[in-house]
Structure formats: structure tokens, C-alpha cells
């Protein structure tokens, strides 16, 4: 008589087992579900904030990149303009220098030419005078007499002119 029958209903036992289930429900809610859900929510929050900051950093980086790109482009343009200007300047200077040097060379040539001509004329004069002197002396000796200096001069001039013409 120490055991229950296989089927024996007892209202108190039923209530106790009902309360047992309720108690276990409360325990599970308090000690298993609430802490775990809290932790999951917290982790979700952390992940969200991490994602937010990551996307923000990405946006910042993209902005920086685009600004750098525009700056690079403007720098390139500037460099191109500078080079172009420099080339133009150099070209111009080159031309000027070329022109100047040509002028100089020409003037030098001109000067040399005129000097040479003058030297030539001087030489002609001198030679002419020498020839006159020599021929006069020669003819005086040959003829034995004084000849008219002026006539002689004219004669020699004609002769030399003819020589020159030839």
C-alpha cells in the first residue's frame, strides 16, 4: 500500500504539476531567454554600429578619393599649360636669338666686305701712284728729257683704266 495505483487521480498532484510547469516557465524566461535575447540584441547593436561606422568611413574615403582625383586632374591641366607656355617662350626666344645672331653675322660680313673693298681701293691707289712714279722715272731716263708731268699722268691713267676694263 506504499505505491499509487497505475491510474489514480489526485487533484493536488495535478495542481502541483501544473505549478511545476509554470515555475519552470518563469525560470526559463528569467534565466535563459531574457539574458540570451539581451545578449543577442546587444551584439546586433554592436554589429549595426560597426557597419554604420564602416559605411561612413567608406563614404569619407570615396569623397577624399574624388577630391584627390579632381585635384590631380587640375594639377595635370596646370602642368600641361605650364609646359606649353614654357615651350612657346623657348620657341620665341630661340627665334629672337636666331634672328639676332643672323643680324650680327650679316653685319660682320658686311663690315669685313667694306673693309676689304677699302683695302683694295687703297692698294689700287698706292699701286697706281707707284706705277706712275716708276713709269715717269723710266720715261725721263729713256727720253732724256723732262716730260710734262700732267700729260704723263693722264696717259698712265688711261692705260690703267684700259687695263682695268680688260
Amino acid at each position: 500500500m506504499n505505491n499509487l495505483d497505475v491510474i489514480s487521480l489526485n487533484i493536488w498532484q495535478i495542481i502541483i504539476s501544473l505549478l511545476n510547469l509554470v515555475i519552470l516557465f518563469l525560470l526559463f524566461r528569467k534565466f535563459l531567454f531574457e539574458p540570451v535575447k539581451k545578449v543577442i540584441a546587444k551584439r546586433q547593436e554592436e554589429v549595426d554600429s560597426r557597419y554604420d561606422s564602416a559605411s561612413k568611413a567608406e563614404a569619407d574615403a570615396m569623397e577624399l578619393k574624388s577630391s584627390w582625383e579632381t585635384r590631380m586632374k587640375s594639377a595635370e591641366d596646370e602642368a600641361g599649360a605650364i609646359i606649353k607656355e614654357a615651350v612657346e617662350k623657348a620657341d620665341r626666344r630661340n627665334e629672337i636669338m636666331l634672328y639676332e645672331s643672323r643680324e650680327k653675322a650679316e653685319s660682320i660680313i658686311r663690315k669685313a666686305k667694306s673693309e676689304a673693298e677699302r683695302d683694295k681701293a687703297d692698294a689700287q691707289e698706292y699701286i697706281k701712284k707707284e706705277i706712275v712714279d716708276v713709269s715717269t722715272a723710266l720715261s725721263e731716263q729713256v727720253l732724256g728729257r723732262e716730260i710734262n708731268m700732267d700729260d704723263h699722268m693722264n696717259l698712265i691713267d688711261d692705260f690703267i683704266d684700259n687695263l682695268e676694263d680688260q
Binding site: W12, L32, V36
Partner: protein, 297 residues
């Protein structure tokens, strides 16, 4: 701390074995009876006998409580321990189960379903360590079924008692007695299904054990002395059978019980009516607030 909690969750089971060894007389032969009565408290309506099923369910609750503490102690958001993964898996699985079977409105049922699954399965599995399974006591499963019945009725009444009473006259009023019977039969059938399955499992186990004892006596009886009386066939074979009758059946019945609770509670809840009434109530409240503010001005 962690180890201490794990030990605390095992201690109740050891205590159960000790109580059984110390206070419950060993049964001889085929003895099919209910739980052992330790003592009886005098109360009206037949008194309250404190039996093995009561004690064992308290031990299971204690054990589960400490196991919960063991799982959830020191939860972190980073570098999760294996305990935390298990705890989160349990919570997520039960929540998903509740969500798919009951819907978003009943998400608060998660701990309740978890408690039902845990208590029922662990109670049935007590047979594995040789203790009396509380689920083979009709009073225990009856209590759970009664709670389910209360919940079903509560959620059916949620949209007003009138609608609940009217639902018995569905589809034709003269079927009302049948509807009432089916309403009452729900918890009874749930209680008896669970109780019967576990009890039949242990009865079959006892029968098979006896059969094997007798058969091995017949085969090996010629051996002299104690060698002849030893039940050789009882080694190993009952363990294989208990995988079905104790492990599988216990877990399956717990699952079925929880499943039926979810389906009955969410099925009995007149969702459309409830939300219609809620909307109307809210609209009324808003109007009242507007009227009040207007009156005040």
C-alpha cells in the same frame, strides 16, 4: 563557477538516485504499479501524497534551473563560449518553432514551450538513470494538459466570451454537445497520450526484462550454482530496446505534447476578431482623448 553550476545541475539527479536507493523498496518480478508514496500531507479532497513523481519532477526542475544558469552565466558579445552557442541555439530553435507554428503574436510562448519540452523530455529520460519517470504518472501529464486547456480557453475568450460561447454552435447549433465534448476531450487525450506512451514503454521494458530472465534461466540453467541463475540475456539487449522506448519515445512525446499545445492554443485564438476589436477599441480611445482635450480647452 562554471564547473560548480554544472555540478549543481547534476546533483539533483544523484540525489534522486540516492532517494530511490534509500527509501523505495526494490520490486520483485512483474510489479506494475504507480509511483512510490513517501508520505501524505492531510488536505481535503483525498490528501496530498508526496510521491516519486513529485519529487522527481522537482529534481528535474532544479537540475534544469542550474543547467540554465550554467549555460547563460558570463554571456558575452564577442568570443562566445561553447556554452553560449548552445544557449543561443536553444533559444533560437524554440523561438523559430513558436514563430512557425503560432505566429508573431504568440512570441511570448517561447519560454513556455521550452519549459514544456525540457520538463517533459527530461522527466521521461529519467528512466535512463533508473529513476521513476514522472511522465508515467497521469497526475503530472494531467496537470500540464489542464494548463494547456486553460490557455486554449483563455485565448479563445480573448476576443470576448460571447464569441467563445458562440463558437460551440458552429456549424449548426444542435452540434453544441459534441463541440463541448471535443473541447473537454482535448486535454484529456493529451494527458493520456503522453502518460500512456511513457508508462507502456516502462511496462514493456519490465516485461522484456522478465522474459529475458526466464529465457536465460531455461538456456543456461544447467550451469552450476550462481552461474546458472545469472540472467545473461539481460545484458545489452534491453539497452537497445530502451533506446526506442525511453530515448526516442520520451523525446517524441515531449515534442508532440509541445506541438499540440502550440497548435491548439494558436488554432483556438480568433485572430481576425481580436484584431478587429483591438482596432475599434483603439479608435474609441483616440476619440475619447480628442474629446477630452477638446472639452478641456
Amino acid at each position: 563557477m562554471t564547473v560548480l553550476l554544472l555540478i549543481l545541475s547534476i546533483i539533483p539527479l544523484i540525489a534522486g538516485i540516492l532517494i530511490k536507493v534509500l527509501y523505495v523498496p526494490a520490486s520483485e518480478g512483474i510489479d506494475i504499479s504507480g509511483a512510490h508514496i513517501f508520505f501524505t500531507i492531510d488536505l481535503p479532497l483525498g490528501g496530498l501524497p508526496i510521491t516519486e513523481s513529485q519529487v522527481n519532477s522537482w529534481l528535474v526542475i532544479l537540475s534544469l534551473f542550474f543547467f540554465c544558469l550554467f549555460l547563460t552565466h558570463g554571456l558575452k558579445t564577442k568570443n562566445m563560449s561553447r556554452r553560449q552557442i548552445i544557449a543561443e541555439w536553444i533559444v533560437n530553435t524554440v523561438d523559430n518553432l513558436v514563430k512557425t507554428n503560432m505566429g508573431e503574436f504568440f512570441m511570448g510562448f517561447g519560454p513556455f514551450i521550452a519549459a514544456m519540452l525540457g520538463l517533459s523530455a527530461c522527466s521521461s529520460l529519467l528512466t535512463l538513470i533508473g529513476l521513476f519517470p514522472p511522465t508515467s504518472d497521469i497526475n503530472v501529464t494531467g496537470g500540464w494538459a489542464l494548463l494547456t486547456f486553460i490557455l486554449i480557453t483563455y485565448y479563445k475568450c480573448k476576443a470576448g466570451p460571447l464569441i467563445y460561447i458562440k463558437s460551440f454552435g458552429d456549424p449548426v447549433p444542435f452540434l453544441a454537445p459534441l463541440n463541448i465534448i471535443s473541447e473537454v476531450a482535448t486535454p484529456i487525450s493529451m494527458a493520456f497520450r503522453h502518460y500512456g506512451n511513457v508508462l507502456s514503454g516502462s511496462i514493456i521494458s519490465i516485461l522484456i526484462a522478465n522474459l529475458l530472465t526466464n529465457v536465460s534461466k531455461m538456456i543456461f540453467g544447467f550451469l552450476p550454482g550462481y552461474l546458472g541463475g545469472f540472467p545473461y540475456l539481460r545484458v545489452g539487449l534491453p539497452a537497445i530496446l530502451s533506446i526506442y522506448f525511453d530515448l526516442f519515445s520520451g523525446a517524441l512525446q515531449a515534442f508532440i505534447f509541445a506541438m499540440l499545445t502550440m497548435l491548439y492554443v494558436s488554432g483556438g485564438f480568433p485572430e481576425d476578431e481580436y484584431f478587429k476589436r483591438k482596432r475599434i477599441k483603439e479608435a474609441k480611445k483616440k476619440q475619447q482623448v480628442i474629446e477630452n482635450t477638446n472639452g478641456g480647452v
